[in-house]
């Protein structure tokens, strides 16, 4: 059984990282996932790690993640996803929301 771990690495032209050092979004509820984004010095590259109970959809994961990373020109960034049976739409939506969150400029607060 165990969990399925997928790792993807990317290198895009003129990569953009995120504004915050670290950002987290989402809850690992049924059909949902959490996304953790962390600025990392990857020499411009981006790394994505997915942990999911789902097997047999590795290729779909790769396509969804690739589209997201390339579509947003992401680099120097580590993305980790803990998934609990989310459909591709939920994955893409959470990734987009996570990116927006990661680029939010903090105002007020501490």
């Amino acid at each position: 059984m165990a969990l399925n771990e997928l790792n993807f690495k990317y290198k895009v032209e003129n990569p953009q990282s995120i504004a915050k050092e670290y950002s987290h979004l989402g809850v690992v509820g049924s059909g949902d996932l959490e996304v953790l984004m962390e600025k990392k010095d990857f020499g411009g590259g981006a790394e994505v790690k997915v942990v999911t109970p789902v097997t047999g959809f590795d290729k779909v994961w790769e396509m969804v993640v690739t589209k997201f990373v390339k579509g947003n020109n992401l680099g120097d960034l580590l993305i980790e996803i803990n998934d609990n049976n989310a459909t591709p739409v939920v994955v893409s939506m959470r990734l987009r929301q996570a990116l927006a969150e990661a680029n939010k400029i903090e105002k007020g607060g501490e």
Binding site: V27, D32, P53, N82, E110
Partner: protein, 321 residues
């Protein structure tokens, strides 16, 4: 995530555990401990093929309410029903342990004015108790939480906040009952045995778990408020709970102790009176009990908004407290 100001307006039932943790303390003061960034998921779930979460379904940290350090534990019902496993449990236990450490430190540093900086523990419960996937570890963790509660007795207040979808059940049901103060919304539920199990034990005629109205009037916030099992009833918003916490923090600790329902011989004797009432009354429904306490038309209370309810609802009278 919503900003603190937006969160205050948000429904408590809609907020996730992290949002609740942020919103229950003063604006901008929350610092999370063992956040997802520390990547400390359950070591036991992967072998069962069960999804992991980096916070293991509970957000722990510290914030302020006024000058008082508030140690927050906020359970996430969407992650395996908020159930307690080894990591989740350890985070709960350690939050209380750290609060007690803070208590000792504050007492040393501010010997004459430590009450105004008295640490507190706030637990936002959303759980069915022991996580079956790591049940033995979860069970042992429950016992540790109770142990810490006893250590905290007479030193720092432990406040339960119950207003999320799952409620507070199973082993965590008596952990909730063992706190000093309980704040609930009418959407909150507190009990021991979940509705499905009661139905299974007693039959559908006696207890139909799909009858949510029945489920809620048996264990929901309004009922618990009438029974004095919940001390405060607030509206379903983050602000509702936060503001009530602010009020509680203003009370001297001796007053807070009076909110307790169990934890001494006298309180046990008081509860035994209630058990005798249960026998004498032969109540078939919680509304029979509401009526007994002087609510002439108990059915009316069900749909009443919190403000009106607080005005008209008659509660069990307590000799103590």
């Amino acid at each position: 995530m919503l900003s603190w100001d937006e969160l205050q307006k948000a429904k408590f039932t809609e907020a996730n555990a992290r949002e609740r943790a942020f919103g229950l303390v003063d604006k901008g003061t929350f610092t999370e401990f063992v956040s997802p960034r520390d990547r400390m998921p359950s070591p036991h779930l992967p072998v069962l093929g069960e999804a992991i979460g980096y916070d293991d379904g509970v957000v722990t940290g510290i914030g302020l309410i006024g000058k008082r350090p508030v140690f927050v534990v906020s359970q996430e019902g969407r992650f395996i029903g908020g159930a307690v496993g080894e990591v989740h449990g350890a985070k709960m236990v350690q939050a209380i342990k750290l609060a007690l450490k803070a208590y000792e430190d504050v007492k040393v540093k501010y010997p004459d004015s430590y009450e105004e900086r008295l640490p507190a523990v706030v637990i936002s419960f959303e759980t069915g108790g022991v996580r079956l996937h790591e049940s033995n570890a979860g069970l042992l963790a429950h016992a540790e939480v109770m142990d810490q509660f006893q250590d905290a007795r007479g030193k720092i207040p432990i406040i339960a906040v119950i207003g999320s979808k799952i409620g507070c059940f199973g082993g965590m049901g008596f952990v909730g009952a063992a706190t000093d103060v309980i704040i609930m919304s009418e959407q909150g539920r507190l009990g021991l045995t979940g509705p499905e199990v009661i139905e299974q034990e007693m039959g559908k005629d006696e207890f139909d778990a799909s009858n949510k109205a029945l489920v809620f009037r048996t264990t929901g916030g309004k009922h618990k408020y009438i029974m004095q099992d919940a001390n405060f009833l607030v509206e379903d918003s983050v602000a509702g709970f936060y503001q009530q916490l602010q009020e509680v923090m203003k009370l001297p600790f001796a007053e807070i102790e009076k909110f307790r329902r169990i934890g001494s011989k006298k309180l046990v004797e008081e509860q035994l009176e209630l058990v005798k009432l249960a026998v004498g009354l032969g109540a078939k429904d919680s509304m029979d009990v509401w009526k007994y306490y002087g609510n002439e038309d108990p059915a009316k209370l069900v749909d009443m908004g919190p403000d009106e309810f607080l005005k008209v609802a008659k509660r069990r009278e307590r000799k103590l407290g």
